[in-house]
Amino acid sequence: MKMKFNKMLAAVGVTGMLVGAMAGCSNESSGQGDGAEGDQVTVELAGWGASPEEEELLQQTLDAFEEAHPNINVKHEVIADQYMDVTKTRLVGGEAADVFYLDAFEAPGLANTGVLEPLDEYVTDEFEIDDFQDPLLNAFKFDGTQYGFPKDFSTLALFYNEKKFEEAGLDGPPQTWEELREYAEKLTVDEDGDGTPEQYGLGFSSELARQFYKLEAYGADVVGENNEAAFASDEAIEALQPIVDMKQDKIAALPSDAGTDWGGDMFGQEKAAMVIEGNWTVPFLENNFTDLSYATAELPTVNGEKATAAFTVAYVMNKESEVKEASWELISFLTGKEGMEIWTSKGLALPTRESVAEELGFDEDPIRGAFVAGGEYAQPWQAGPNLPTINNNFNNQFTSALLGDQSLEEALKKAQETANKEIEAAN
């Protein structure tokens, strides 16, 4: 017994020494100095995890960059989960990566705090800033300052199952939201008559991110002038009531209602004949549901106007970065024509530069064309620095309106009041 415990103690001692020794080798310092010529500089690039395909594309892009800039090494860091929480923690500690991804949704809040490096000074004519699509560029521009350049974007479009359309005698996608309802009625199938359809007409997501684009067509707002929540208006009710009705009439459903994870899955499993989803759904369907015959279309018009949402992510620079010149080189390459062309070559996400879009010709693609077309009028998912709070409260209450536990009016009011109380208390 004694022997054993002595051994254990010895083991602890050795461990301690090892810890010390290991510490030495793991402390590779990241780039020193500001990339004077000949010096090797390391730029840290942080992002979230991605599919194997995406990771490969990014790696290709980074390899191309390193080849063009032999004195700059890129250290790619993946934050596997809770990306924004970890990024914020690292920013507070002054330890965030030099260049990192930022979703437009979080951009106003972060830009407000002054942790992002303004990029206007770095931009040269060669970079051709006018080549970017304006709404996407503006999603990262606050008070006239550009804080990031969009690396890609996705819009929402309507996926519809061609076989089911044929069976229901429908020809072509619905053009208006009213037509969408009619279609959904025809496409809902409840064979055993238990009141729970086996196939819903429409699958949709209840989050504000997937609903907000309808408000503008009715003249409603998500946020007001002072960035407070302002969605509890009659106009907003008008915009959102159709989907609530469809859900309660059981011709539209959430993915979870059909025992599925998300819309793409619901559509692939043929639990919904139509879904409103983004272009990330395309490779998912291609890889997992090879037999599915489907098409895509621009979203039906809302109150006579074309509307859809755009989700966009930018590369931004950490204000604390010690290698700003090199970081800019990286950003300008990744969002430049060459880098963007490699990154978006497979159409997993769409290019934000018009020239690249033209080059790759996704607008001609039968499946991806609808997403590109949506880019013309899409509203970026973004609404001031308080959106995270507003979003939270909306999601929390809107689901209960969908369930019919309270009216849409009540739900929106409650969500708005709570959100504004929180916003007010925080300021």
Binding site: M22, P52, D81, R90
Partner: protein
């Protein structure tokens, strides 16, 4: 306790039902790791319809750093288990048996520490690690985790029940407190130490949040962290996640099975005959 289980059928019945209830979700997770993503996300099938090893193949082929991560995880976990067992037991013993000024206060502090949710201490802890220069290092994970309030508390409760006579005898023989602790008390506390070892192994092996925040270089990732990066912005790759998590549970189960022998009645560790 031995012969008198009159209610045996009932006991077996209950145990078997509970075992089924416990085993099914776990079995589902394992079986899911052999399904393609399309089948897995629906959650409808139980047995794989399209049996595949691709998920495992993909994990190994995709991650060139797999061995490094495994080394990191093993190294960190071994250190954590060794240090925690000794330090937690020492503290638990002192809180239960050694009379020193401030003992109650220390115990109170241990409880308070457990009551504050980590969400508010995450950022300050991060700042402290930064001040030490320990971000992205092994010691950044090991040193702050080498003592665990939960298990100090647990060990204290165990030592409260510990027969006093043995210690008194040892002290009569001239053993110091330290000597008594390492030579008499620790060997007799095996069941509690085994339980502690299992739990510390698991919490360190499966720890996600701390490595997620502290480790930024891929070479410094633990296995849990490295294998959990199968999450895109919009889509989670559940087939890979399930395969990874199945791989991750195997060592924990082996450790548990190994230490399980210390919980088996028959070997008496106590002072009683």
């Amino acid at each position: 306790m031995k012969k008198r289980t009159i209610t045996k059928p009932v006991v077996y019945g209950v145990l078997i039902i509970y075992a089924v209830v416990t085993f099914i979700p776990f079995l589902w997770a394992i079986l899911s790791s052999f399904k393609p993503l399309s089948e897995i996300v629906s959650g409808i099938t139980f047995f794989p319809e399209n049996f595949t090893f691709n998920n495992y193949a993909e994990i190994f082929s995709r991650e060139p750093l797999f061995l490094r991560w495994m080394f990191n995880s093993i190294f960190i976990t071994v250190c954590m288990v060794g240090l925690n067992i000794i330090f937690n037991s020492m503290a638990g013993y002192a809180l239960a048996r050694v009379k020193f000024a401030g003992r109650k206060f220390c115990f109170f502090l241990i409880l308070v520490v457990l009551m504050i949710p980590f969400q508010v201490t995450l950022i300050p802890s991060y700042l402290i690690l930064k001040a030490f220069g320990w971000l992205d290092t092994y010691q950044g994970l090991i040193i702050p985790g080498m003592v665990n309030a939960t298990f100090i508390f647990m060990m204290r409760q165990f030592f409260l029940n510990f027969p006093k006579e043995l210690e008194e005898a040892a002290q009569m023989d001239g053993l110091s407190r330290m000597g008594t602790f390492f030579k008499i008390v620790m060997p007799l506390a095996k069941p509690a130490l085994a339980a502690q070892a299992v739990f510390i192994f698991m919490s360190s092996w499966n720890d996600f949040m701390r490595p997620l925040v502290i480790m930024s270089s891929e070479e410094m990732f633990t296995l849990t962290l490295g294998l959990n990066s199968f999450k895109g912005q919009y889509i989670s790759f559940w087939n890979l996640i399930m395969a990874a998590s199945t791989l991750m549970t195997i060592p924990s189960l082996l450790i548990y099975a190994f230490f399980n022998r210390y919980f088996i009645k028959g070997v008496t560790f106590t002072g009683g005959k």
